[in-house]
């Protein structure tokens, strides 16, 4: 009987061999066409100012410069806002953040272009700048009118707060995060015949770049092709914000009629592009003596920067995750998207979810401190569980008990209670070093909350040697999407994964695609690819059933063979060749749209998510109370991947996500000067985790109960959820600092050594 294979195998990344050999081609590695120009961007030094003069004569006269570009050159439009207008490609009369592009230059070499940029003479008339959320709140500087803010409400919150036995209130600032993809923003644009433009862009959203480039270039969408084989990391930072780099390259290519490459320097990338949103969260929570929450009044204010970008959806997701895994019987949540004069903040793995969930964990910390009891007990007391306590604030029902199960299992496997006792003893015996341990859960909603984005397409070609080429709208940024799709197609056809090849994401193959984001890449594109494979299988099986006069249901594809019942009748390649001769089409598209989802934003209720991914982590830390320096000692994780499509890739996502969250919460600190200029502009000053920040004692296990929803092979999305497992490290640091201070302390993230020392010393 045919065996089931390929899906669920821990295969290496499809590009692993190319990665380690240095032959994996990124955009800056594409052999340059003769005559290629290199671009650089000049940007604002002021956070908010009128541009009174932009004199580029010295730039144009610099060695090697071919042409310059300003807003005045843009004849067909200048706004590349992805959802709402407000993102000029190049500033025209006003600049709204330090780092906003004012002009671009194309020269014979990258160095010449960059050196030329420094010759610009730009005069500004500075205007008052809003540089903090507090300032924005005070001035009601919002992206949308104050009366149309998104609100989620249930029950009588005022009553719940006033009748609860205990109450905690507070406010916490949550820092942003730079993506620090190792490959910075880069694009290579090559003009084609008939006004066509081919753009190689390191982007998560080729279709959006196609649409925006067509608009700015003044050509129809069919004239623009956007292609990306792989990105050197993206993490949300190339969802909307790859567009500026790509379109500048394209406009310069159109103007110069020469190929143009634009690769931002690390510093320019830091200054020009948006980051994870800083938030100012405030809360008023009433709870009983057993720690159970009765009511919660929550405000989430986000620093969106100078434009909308994706901020409204990000604030929505923060609101959808302000419960984390906890039931709030009476609840009010309001989200405030603040407009400030910084780079427009954007998508970053978790998309507002981390900030919302951090607030929920802040509340858990406060309750545990108030009641002087263990943090895990408080968390377990509040988990969604029975039918009276399974509705989220926005009305979606939690239909499973996965999170309770995960937390219970992890508390046991991580030996949580015993280790808390050991830590108590350690802290009593040690004057300088203190330890802390915390276990936190994760629930993350899977689907784009912008419902129409939940669609995907694929194009599948079968060739006469029995090999398969699969193309889909998803982009590969290292997350292993191409590997998973390859495995799904191989599984459907019952052939070896080596017989399936993924190729560059390309707007001329699959049109009108959604960004690869919201953890949905594998869910949607694997399904679309499977649909295409099923279409072709059906054609092949129909042909074979006719030829062999058998029932269609008897035809199976497995082990590289075609079975009729239990009998292998030919190989896959033989069937393909036979079908070709019978003039059966061997190419098909596949299409998928996520079912069941629907959300009514005006009333703040509905089912925004198809399902939830869960997980939990226990982290143990040690702090030096003299310097505030700290170290992670041990991590235990149990994470829900359901029927994993590829356990090796999923483990990589979990470990990597945890580490990225750890950086956000403990070491990655953005810093601006009083003029609103970013002062951390590279890895020398901005510290993402290095190798020893991740402990040797890292115990990861997968929770593999099948998804209750009909996802691809009942798997679950894994891209974003693990990032929030790192909340446990932050809570553990708070616990250690609390032990050191002898009273409850708060660590507004990032919990840098300075933040920890300030907390201990009561600054």
């Amino acid at each position: 009987m045919p065996t089931e294979a390929r899906k669920g195998e821990a295969l290496a990344h499809e590009s692993a061999t190319a990665h380690v050999s240095g032959s994996a081609c990124y955009i800056d590695d594409i052999p340059e066409i003769g005559g290629t120009l290199h671009a650089a961007v000049g940007y604002s030094e002021h956070a908010h100012a009128d541009l009174t003069q932009v004199d580029l004569s010295a730039v144009a006269a610099s060695t090697g410069v071919y042409c310059t570009l300003t807003a005045a050159d843009l004849m067909h439009g200048n706004d590349i806002g992805p959802v709402l207008p407000g993102d000029p490609l190049l500033a025209d009369t006003v600049v709204e953040y330090a780092g906003q592009a004012i002009f671009a230059v194309a020269g014979e070499s990258r160095q010449q272009a960059r050196r030329a940029c420094r010759q610009a003479k730009i005069s500004y008339a500075p205007k008052p700048a809003i540089l903090s959320i507090k300032q924005a709140l005070a001035q009601q500087s919002y992206l949308i009118p104050a009366d149309s803010l998104h609100r989620i409400q249930r029950g009588d919150v005022a009553d719940a707060l006033s009748t609860a036995a205990h109450r905690c209130q507070g406010e916490m600032f949550i820092g942003g995060q730079e993506h620090f993809y190792l490959e910075g923003q880069v694009a290579y644009a090559i003009a084609q015949e008939n006004n066509g433009m081919l753009i190689y862009s390191s982007t998560q959203h080729p279709s959006e770049i196609q649409i925006l480039a067509a608009k700015i270039l003044g050509v129809p969408q069919h004239a623009v092709t956007v292609r990306v084989r792989r990105m050197g990391g993206a993490f949300g930072g190339k969802e909307t914000q790859a567009a500026q780099t790509a379109i500048l390259a394209a406009v310069l290519a159109q103007k110069s009629q020469r190929p143009v490459k634009l690769r931002l320097s690390r510093k320019d990338d830091f200054c020009m592009t948006g980051k994870r949103h800083p938030f100012l969260v405030s809360y008023d929570v009433g709870f009983n003596a057993d720690g159970r929450i009765q009511g919660a009044d929550i405000r989430l204010a986000a620093d969106c920067g100078m434009s909308a970008d994706l901020s409204l959806a990000i604030v929505d997701r923060a609101m959808f995750h302000a419960d984390n895994c906890y039931h709030y019987p009476a609840v009010s949540i309001v989200g405030i998207p603040c407009k400030t004069h910084t780079a427009s903040n954007t998508a970053f793995r978790g998309f507002g979810g981390p900030q919302g969930m951090l607030l929920a964990e802040r509340i858990m910390q406060d309750i545990a401190n108030t009641l002087n009891c263990d943090g895990l007990a408080v968390r377990q007391q509040n988990l969604y569980n029975d039918s009276n306590r399974n509705a989220t604030p926005y009305g979606q029902t939690i239909e499973d008990k996965t999170i309770e199960d995960i937390v219970t299992q992890l508390a046991a496997s991580a030996d949580y209670q015993q280790r808390q006792q050991d830590i108590l003893t350690f802290n009593q015996r040690n004057r300088v070093l203190k330890k802390g341990l915390a276990l936190t859960p994760v629930k993350f909603g899977i689907s784009f909350t912008t419902t129409f984005l939940n669609q995907a397409g694929a194009l599948l070609n079968v060739y006469t040697d029995g090999t398969v080429l699969i193309n889909h709208g998803g982009t590969e940024m290292g997350q292993g999407l191409f590997t998973k799709v390859q495995q799904v197609v191989a599984t459907e056809f019952g052939i070896a994964t080596a017989a399936v090849r993924g190729c560059a994401t390309d707007t001329d193959k699959v049109p009108n695609t959604s960004p690869t984001a919201a953890s949905s890449g594998a869910d949607m594109n694997c399904m679309a690819a499977a649909m295409a494979a099923i279409t072709i299988k059906h054609r092949l099986a129909t042909y074979l059933a006719e030829r062999h006069q058998c029932n269609l249901a008897q035809v199976h594809f497995a082990d590289n063979q075609i079975f009729i019942g239990d009998n292998a009748v030919m190989t896959f390649g033989e069937l393909v060749r036979a079908a070709y001769l019978q003039r059966i089409s061997l190419s098909a598209t596949g299409y998928y749209r996520t079912p069941k989802i629907d959300y009514d934003k005006a009333n703040g209720c509905g089912r925004p998510f198809y399902y939830y991914s869960y997980g939990a982590a226990a982290s143990e830390v040690m702090i030096d109370t003299l310097t505030g320096e700290h170290r992670l000692l041990r991590v235990d994780i149990l994470h829900d991947v359901a029927n994993s499509l590829n356990p090796a890739i999923d483990c990589g996502q979990i470990e990597g996500g945890y580490t990225q969250g750890l950086g956000w919460l403990t070491s990655e600190e953005l810093h601006w000067n009083e003029a609103g200029q970013l002062t951390v502009t590279g890895p020398a000053t901005y510290k993402i985790p290095a190798v020893s920040d991740v402990p040797a004692d890292f115990r990861l296990a997968l929770y593999t109960v099948a998804n209750r929803e009909e996802t691809i092979y009942r798997s679950k999305a894994v891209g974003e959820p693990p990032l929030m497992l790192a909340l446990s490290a932050w809570a553990a640091l708070e616990n250690a600092a609390t032990a050191a201070a002898g009273k409850a302390v708060t660590l507004p993230p990032p919990a840098t050594p300075e933040c920890v020392l300030n907390a201990i010393r009561g600054v």
Partner: protein, 491 residues
């Protein structure tokens, strides 16, 4: 003159006649070897890592990882440059590459060639097997934003556990050694007739340096270039004529004398660390937090001093130990205390025609206490928020004869906390006296607030380090960066 070197498996040397400001990374990428990536252009991410092989006195190949993004081409002179393209043979992966694939060590893949090359250097240098601490150290200068590092450590462990080194470079070692020796012998040294457009010179001896400096008085001296190169790669600032002194034999040695060591200015931080590991046990852990393996193997003591950064780590222990430096010109030399070298932010007493040639480190006489500390946001490869080196000369193990308390990150230059020092003069080395001295720090020093830390934090830490120095003399108190085992032993 020209730069001659071998690249990967090539049997003919490559020759470069106009190097200018070209970095090794630029050279590789412009010559079609695009496996090495630019992630930061500042030597902080390791995506550009390649390996240099050179011949040891024993006639073996010695392998060093290098951040090609901040190395000028003079770094490869007479060496074998191995980039990631030089590992696989006819499509068969090198064991390092196999280990990375097997461990799922790549995700986006952009940092991967750099990790592969750092692990390759480890593989060529380390006896098998190695611990995870050793693997971690070898990749501490490589940033990965995807994996969380565990699989990469795993790859390193697996690689070294099953080490059976018969790769191309092992098999061909003697041939390569012979080629490199021949290259060094036949290549023409710099002459007075060298054309000016070749603005990168290599001095092999002090005399050559003197000649070159006389011909090109405006030339800047460069050794490891780990900081100087950033002028070019980050600030787009073309450098004038450069003279590479990293091969000047006289400046590459540490010589022990009766009462001092004479350390050549071109001695690398790694060499310094290794030489003094047992003499000053505190120094090695301190310097482990300086940069990364490739940086420490390129950066020189002279460079770290001359650079005059307020947060340079090397000058502090030298000043604390009463170190002096010798400044040379073509005609003469002068000797002064290192602490007198610094005038202000990035400003020193060094005259335009002078250079640092030697560092004189006096031998302390027992009993003494010598402590060094570094505090930064991240333990690995970070710039100090505050660094400190403390030295106490004692009598009878308790009376303080002399104190030097030196801080980095607390002023525009490395600075001694004179008031705290005076407080301790002739006092007993005990907790209350140390506390009293620590209390004066905030009155004396006025550090700035910046992205690395506020003035307030720096003052708190500066005082706390003095406290910690004392505590460490009285009880087992592991540093936060110490191996986990040391922490468990402490309890």
């Amino acid at each position: 003159m020209s730069i001659c070197f071998y690249l990967n498996r090539e049997q003919q040397p490559r020759q470069l006649t106009a190097a200018g400001d070209t970095t090794v990374l630029q050279y590789l990428r412009e010559n079609g070897l695009v496996g090495s990536k630019e992630g930061c252009a500042s030597g902080d991410c390791g995506a550009c890592t390649a390996v240099l092989a050179e011949v040891t006195s024993a006639g073996k190949l010695h392998y060093t990882p290098i951040n090609t993004c901040i190395a000028f081409m003079s770094a490869v002179q007479h060496k074998l440059l191995i980039s990631v393209e030089g590992l696989a043979t006819n499509g068969t992966l090198h064991p390092v590459q196999n280990a990375m694939v097997d461990a799922h060590g790549s995700q986006c893949g952009f940092c991967t060639p750099g990790f592969v090359m750092s692990l390759f250097a480890l593989y060529k240098k380390s006896p098998a097997p190695v611990t995870s601490t050793v693997v971690a150290e070898s990749i501490a200068g490589n940033l990965c934003r995807c994996t969380g590092y565990r699989p990469i450590i795993q790859a390193g462990l697996a690689l070294c556990a099953s080490k059976n080194d018969n790769d191309f470079y092992a098999v061909e070692e003697q041939t390569i050694v012979a080629r490199l020796r021949q290259l060094a012998q036949t290549d023409t040294p710099p002459t007075k007739h060298t054309q000016v457009k070749n603005d990168l010179y290599i001095a092999n001896t002090v005399n050559e340096l003197i000649d070159l400096k006389q011909q090109h008085p405006q030339a800047v001296l460069v050794a490891g270039a780990t900081d100087l190169a950033l002028q070019v790669t980050l600030n787009e600032h073309p450098l004038p004529i450069k003279i590479d002194i990293s091969r000047v034999a006289e400046y590459r040695t540490i010589v022990e004398h009766d009462d001092h060591w004479a350390i050549g200015a071109a001695v690398t931080v790694a060499e310094w660390m290794e030489y003094f590991a047992d003499i000053f046990p505190n120094l090695s852990p301190y310097l482990h937090r300086f940069g990364s393996v490739p940086i420490r193997q390129r950066a020189t003591l002279g460079g770290n001093i001359a650079n005059a950064s307020p947060i340079a780590d090397c000058p502090l222990p030298l000043i604390a130990l009463g170190g002096e430096i010798i400044l040379s010109t073509a005609e003469q030399e002068r000797r002064l205390l290192l602490e007198e070298f610094y005038l202000n932010y990035k400003e020193t007493v060094l005259a335009a025609d002078e250079w640092i040639s030697t560092i004189i480190l006096p031998k302390p006489t027992a009993p003494f206490i010598f402590k060094t500390f570094k505090v930064s946001k991240r333990i690995e490869d970070d710039i100090s928020t505050v660094a400190a080196a403390f030295y106490w000369q004692l009598k009878d193990d308790k009376t303080i004869l002399q104190t030097r308390l030196v801080y980095g990150g607390m002023a525009a230059t490395p600075i001694r906390a004179r008031r705290a020092e005076q407080h301790l003069s002739k006092q007993t080395f005990n907790e209350s006296n140390i506390e009293a001295a620590a209390a004066t720090i905030a009155q004396e020093l006025t550090p700035i607030s910046d992205a690395r830390g506020s003035c307030h934090y720096r003052l708190q830490v500066a005082a706390a380090l003095l406290r910690r120095a004392y505590l460490e003399t009285t009880q087992p108190l592991a540093r936060i960066e110490a191996p986990i085992e040391e922490h468990s032993h402490a309890n």
